[in-house]
């Protein structure tokens, strides 16, 4: 046997032929032909630790999937609240274990269904919710104390959370006991997803109000899901996804501490959301690096004492951007590989995309195959039988170290700029991402990177698959519903409640109390967001190219 890696490379490896391809990850990190014990310098106890122990590299819980499988949480939402309620109940009957709500664009941007800007968008790519009545229809016959609900909504999240809380109140469910997650990560909106109302500073103030409110009144709810998903989907590399997400997290923690909260009071309820892209090893390493970095940041930078404050608990979703419109059935294989990376990376909750999502929202059949993919991993593949089975792999550990190192370099740069809000104002993360997206596209077109069925193994005639159609009558129905509410409610009670929201915007009082009251009095989502527009101003996109 050759005595060390270099000797092996020089004597054995170089003599054999290499295929003429670039051996690099999807994010274009070049990999070495082999990783050996020489590449793993770190000490087991300090760099890895056992599962459930600092720095949580091997998993946040001691028993991981032997104790409890991840939550299978399929993102769903389209059409009227009744349509989505039916899909929710279908998924629950199929063995799904948590709900995840997709809202339509008007709801996400804080417009009612009857707003001019909502034309053509109502119920199209999510469910339309303009009022407390829509929210009540959405969760009809679903007991909010019995299920955990995730809601993907950001700039209008404060209103949606208030509606959810009022629906819970009307069901007789206790705010002390209900649990779930609201995405509510505005920084990544400015960086990547681009759904916003007001500029970054007031946006982060609203987020902080929600963290404070949930800490005090809805203690089991996760008031934010700090999200790398959208950052990655917009074109970031794995390192950028990780770095910008944790830098966003740092910014929220700083604001909550500034608000007067003790770090150990709120940090255990922070949650995360990462992308699961095609590169299997890179994604597993990214998730392991994420846990270790967050643990160290919370302990060393913020002085957290409760280990729960240091645990990065995360939802993950397979990469929408990796799905192809060409030969869509191939997406089932992609999603399975991505989901497996998530499970080997130790996620707490998972969404698997449906194979038809580059064409439209998923059909029932496609949604079921996506859920079944998770069930096959959980109950057939055997990977859940032992914890972090890839821990100790030379390649995985070396990649984990490298991703951590590179992501920390980015975080240092952002700190030097004055933090994430300043970095966003300078356009730094946005331009880094656009650059990566363009570089990847060029590699794809030059054939350096392969997408099966798109730039290789192309077939001349595509075989069509069925797609979900949204009935255009949805829009008209939702428009009529919100108009009826606006006609029939007690107008002076609504006016008064909206005035209270505006006052809280100005005084700095926590907004959630006044918003809950406005929702109870049938103020609509659009009306409450109009108060934000008026009080905080509207953010416009700097149209960099």
């Amino acid at each position: 046997m050759s005595s060390n890696k270099q000797e092996w490379l020089d004597t054995s490896y170089r003599k054999s032929a290499e295929r003429p391809v670039r051996f690099s990850t999807l994010s274009d990190m070049e990999l070495e032909p082999l990783y050996t014990p020489e590449d793993v310098k770190s000490d087991y106890a300090t760099a890895l630790g056992n599962p459930g122990e600092y720095p949580f590299t091997r998993g946040v819980y001691p028993s991981m999937y032997r104790g409890k499988l991840w939550t299978m949480r399929q993102f769903a939402g389209f059409g009227t609240p009744e349509d989505t309620n039916a899909r929710f109940r279908f998924l629950l009957r199929q063995g799904q274990t948590g709900l995840s709500t997709a809202f339509d664009m008007p709801t996400l941007m804080g417009y009612d269904a009857d707003h001019e800007r909502a034309r053509g968008e109502v119920g199209r790519e999510g469910v339309s919710v303009s009022s407390i009545h829509d929210m009540a229809r959405l969760f009809d016959q679903i007991q909010l104390e019995q299920i955990t609900t995730s809601m993907t909504v950001n700039c209008s999240a404060s209103v949606i959370l208030a509606m959810y809380l009022v629906v819970a109140e009307r069901q007789g469910a206790s705010w002390q006991r209900i649990s779930g997650t609201i995405q509510n990560d505005m920084l990544k909106e400015f960086i990547a997803q681009k759904e916003w109302i007001c500029p970054p500073k007031p946006s982060v103030r609203i987020v902080t109000d929600m963290i404070e409110f949930c800490t005090r009144h809805v203690p089991r709810f996760h008031p934010i899901s700090i999200s790398g998903y959208h950052i990655r989907e917009a074109g970031a590399t794995a390192v950028q996804e990780l770095a910008f997400t944790l830098a966003d997290g740092i910014c929220y923690v700083e604001h909550a501490i500034e608000r007067g909260l003790d770090v150990d009071e709120f940090a255990p309820r922070l949650s995360f959301f990462f992308d699961l892209h095609n590169d299997f090893l890179e994604e597993i390493a990214k998730l392991r690096a994420a846990r270790r970095m967050w643990a160290r940041i919370m302990k060393e930078r913020f002085g957290a004492k409760n280990p729960r404050s240091m645990m990065l608990r995360t939802h993950a979703q397979t990469a929408g951007v990796a799905l192809t419109a060409q030969q869509p059935l191939n997406n089932i294989a992609r999603v399975a590989i991505q989901a497996l990376a998530g499970v080997l990376g130790g996620v707490q909750s998972l969404h698997t995309n449906a194979m038809d999502e580059t064409l439209a929202l998923p059909t029932d059949m496609a949604a079921m195959v996506a859920l079944r993919t998770q069930q096959i991993i959980a109950e057939e593949s055997g990977v859940v039988n032992t914890i972090d089975p890839l821990g100790g792999s030379y390649a995985i550990e070396a990649l984990t170290d490298r991703i951590e190192h590179e992501a920390m370099e980015y975080i240092k740069r952002i700190d030097e700029m004055g933090g994430m809000i300043r970095a966003i104002e300078l356009g730094f993360p946005q331009q880094e991402i656009a650059e990566s997206a363009f570089r990847y596209q060029r590699q794809l077109e030059e054939g350096v990177k392969t997408v099966v069925g798109v730039n290789k193994y192309v077939i001349p005639e595509e075989i069509p698959i069925p797609t979900l159609k949204i009935d255009p009558a949805v829009e008209e129905l939702q428009v009529q519903r919100v108009r009826k509410i606006k006609r029939e409610r007690n107008q002076s009670a609504v006016r008064e409640a909206l005035k209270r929201v505006a006052e809280a915007c100005r005084s700095g009082e926590n907004l959630m109390g006044p918003i809950c009251e406005a929702v109870r009095r049938e103020a609509t989502l659009g009306e409450i967001c109009d108060v934000y527009r008026e009080e905080f101003g509207v953010y416009t996109d700097p149209a960099w190219l």
Binding site: M105, Q193, A325, Q441
Partner: protein, 135 residues
């Protein structure tokens, strides 16, 4: 020999959709390919798109829509162009658009629809072939 004027294109994000990865990549690739490209930024109404196209005197509009609102926003842009006697501005686009909708949009007058996976080279070639400077 007279030099042909460079083709001017407006790349637009219409509706509330914020997914601008594709629009930005395509705008940049078209610019690198020698076209004059104006990018509108996000959240444009059909009125804003058409008014920018006319003011900027473009030869074509590339609309990017990933929010499912394509059957409303494309026809509205076509209608407004016609209303403004500018229907000779070619409209093309891309996004999450099922094949049967793409077919209907083409029948209405949209010149081409590109879906995920389309290469920037294909789009550049199509623009060279199909978009001419307006009179």
């Amino acid at each position: 020999m007279t030099e042909e004027r460079r083709i001017r294109l407006l790349i637009a994000k219409a509706g509330l959709d914020g997914h601008d990865r594709g629009a930005k990549i395509i705008a940049r690739a078209l610019r690198d390919a020698g076209f004059e490209v104006i990018y509108t930024g996000l959240h444009q109404t059909p009125e804003m798109v058409v008014s920018a196209a006319i003011q900027e005197d473009v030869d074509g509009i590339g609309l990017s829509i990933l929010s499912g609102a394509h059957m409303t926003l494309f026809p509205e842009v076509l209608r407004l162009l016609k209303e403004n006697n500018a229907e000779d501005i070619a409209v093309f686009g891309g996004g999450i658009i099922p094949p049967d909708d793409a077919q209907k949009l083409k029948e209405m007058g949209v010149k081409e629809i590109f879906t995920p996976g389309a290469s920037t080279q294909d789009i550049i070639a199509w623009v060279k072939e199909n978009i001419r400077p307006r009179e």
